[in-house]
Amino acid sequence: MKFTWFNLMPWPHLPDDFREKNRSVWVDIDQRLFDPVKSHQVYNTYMDLLEYAATLGFDGIGVNEHHQNGYGIMPSPNIIAAGLARRTKDVALVVLGNSIALYNPPVRVAEEFAMLDCISGGRLVAGFPVGTSMDTNYCYGQIPSLTREKYAEAHELIIKAWTERDPFAFNGRYNKLRYVNIWPRPIQQPHPPVHIPGGGSVETYDFCIDNTYSYSYLSFSGYLRAQALMNGYWRRVEERGAPDTSPYRAGFAQTICVAETDEEAERLYAPHVSYFYNRCLHVFPGFADAPGYRTIKTIQTGALSQYAPPKGGYATLSWKELTEQGHVIAGSPETVRQRMEDLIKGLRVGNVFCLMHVGDMPADKCMYSTRLFAEKVMPKLRNIFPEHADDDRFWCKPIAQVAPGSLPAAPDRAPVPAE
């Protein structure tokens, strides 16, 4: 099993009446709710928490990309990952990911990911999301019905830039480049492992299967509601005649809160879970799915956009409902272990993205929950798929790393060149 500690980086100072006074947490959220001075502490605490998780034995620490978004103040995950690369060792840097249709030209992603891989010593796990409609269409102005075509071209260009050893010309529809010749290139060969976040479209299943990429379902509504979608994925893996059904072909994001007892979990975490589901997910439905963003085939399968709120909205969901329906896995280490085992076996996922900082959770509670998970839950889940323990196709392969602070003592006279 691979456990990645993930921080969405929500803005923790949305007012109590946020829902009533604002139509959306995303795209046209009120500028005045962001306080740059306060953000200094928020960013540094969030990066400290990611680094803290790395010391506790998580396999990866994870970041992602959102724009104009009150629950994700990370328009550039690569900047955060670069900071983390310097202050961590051995842990995977899971950048899930860069919305590659948004970069002009997308060789920028090939370059920045190569830099991250080189600086971190081969620790990058690269994610290539299409990007939500909010980010891609409404914030960054991409034409909805051309987004996927542009994404596919960007993917082709990035992989070619990573793997070709000579300068090449790329005559794409969206990118015309005479000399593609990235410098640096990644340590990991032929390229860093790739994870693709998806929301249930058959095209994305096939894209992952055909390229040996891991399919990640990043949902906030929990594992019980994800069963049909993941069943669809595994059915497709068999239909396409993939050589194996390794659980590392799939990943899932889950909100997790651990305490000593179930009651303590509710007492400690309920307000922060409520903050996340009531304020942070308050997205104007008009931004959820620009016409043309999803393919006709996907709409015809009846799948709703994952940003379409459940009937009646999240606001009506109590702690009991959120935990019983699996949006959130919370409770004592034993409760969480049982439910995580159900999740991992039920969805057949080798990669779990643990959403352990929730809403406006303060650092001490987050550390408490994280440590309990790392010490009392994670070890018992490690060996669920022993027959696939050797499958390293979907994870990074670090080299021996230079420790930060590797400079010699400051010279007080002209150094003598080494022979």
């Binding site: 034409i143 008009g286 016409p291 043309g292 999803r294 709409i299």
Partner: protein
């Protein structure tokens, strides 16, 4: 009285609505599409031979994913006119269709002698933003589109059972197909450089606008009038963006000044 027919083009089969007797007239629909029961087409068909092609992805016109940008849309529509063996009709466009019609007249100025632009898209001024139909919820549309939103809503939902899940599914698919296609020239801002090309238009042009257009404000009626040599402006009172539904006779009369 109006019939749906099919014509073959380079980009697949295109459906078009045809009817009426009189001078040749081609109507290009807006982002919402058009049907054979459209009151404006019926009004025009009393005095004109009307043909109204459906853009690929609209109605049961085949999709044409290879049409991606403004030039593709413009030349495709010229292809349709060629396939219909229709030369120098009165070219009429509403909203997105007006944007395409103006582009056609700018690209081939010697082939369009009469042009009617109704509540047309294609221009943008930061001080007069055009509404975002792509992010608008269905319940917000009547107020954007009609002078009288209550009557407008009744027109939009006539004959539809909005509670029926099958209808909803079909609506979502049709909406994705149609607005997905329209988005290629309208998203996120419905402007693709037309202002730079308006000077090329040689057609005798009538600009027709609802006085109370809340989607594309009447400011743009003035902008088209200024940009196209000798253009006339006809303002229609008590009408919104869907002036062709709210005042079909008045708009048809204004178009008829062209012949």
């Amino acid at each position: 009285m109006l019939e749906l027919k099919t014509v073959e083009t380079q980009h697949g089969n295109v459906r078009y609505i045809e009817g009426g007797v009189g001078s040749e007239l081609v109507f290009l629909h807006g982002a919402g599409g058009v049907t054979p029961s459209d009151p404006f087409l019926l009004a025009l068909a009393r005095t004109h031979h009307v043909r109204a092609p459906l853009l690929p992805g609209y109605g049961d016109s085949e999709e044409a994913p290879e049409l991606r940008d403004m030039l593709d849309f413009t030349l495709h529509t010229w292809d349709v006119l060629d396939a219909l063996k229709c030369s120098d009709p009165i070219l009429v466009g509403h909203s997105m269709g007006g944007m395409i019609a103006a582009e056609m007249a700018a690209v081939q100025p010697n082939d369009v002698s009469r042009l009617a632009l109704i509540s047309a898209g294609g221009l943008w001024d930061d001080a007069h933003p055009i509404g975002d139909i792509f992010a608008a919820m269905p319940y917000e549309m009547p107020a954007l589109l009609f002078n009288d939103p209550v009557a407008g809503e009744a027109m939009l939902t006539a004959g539809r059972d909005v509670e029926d899940p099958n209808f909803l599914q079909q609506f979502l698919v049709a909406n994705a197909r149609q607005l997905g296609m329209a988005g290629r020239i309208l998203f996120p801002i419905p402007e693709r450089g037309l202002a730079n090309r308006l000077y090329r238009i040689k057609a005798r042009t009538i600009v027709i606008w609802g006085d109370n257009d809340r989607l594309i404000p009447p400011f743009y009626a003035q902008a088209f009038k200024k940009g196209i040599k000798d253009a006339q402006l006809v303002s229609i009172p008590e009408a919104g963006h869907m002036v062709i539904l709210e005042k079909p006779e008045a708009v048809a009369d204004a178009v008829s000044r062209l012949g």
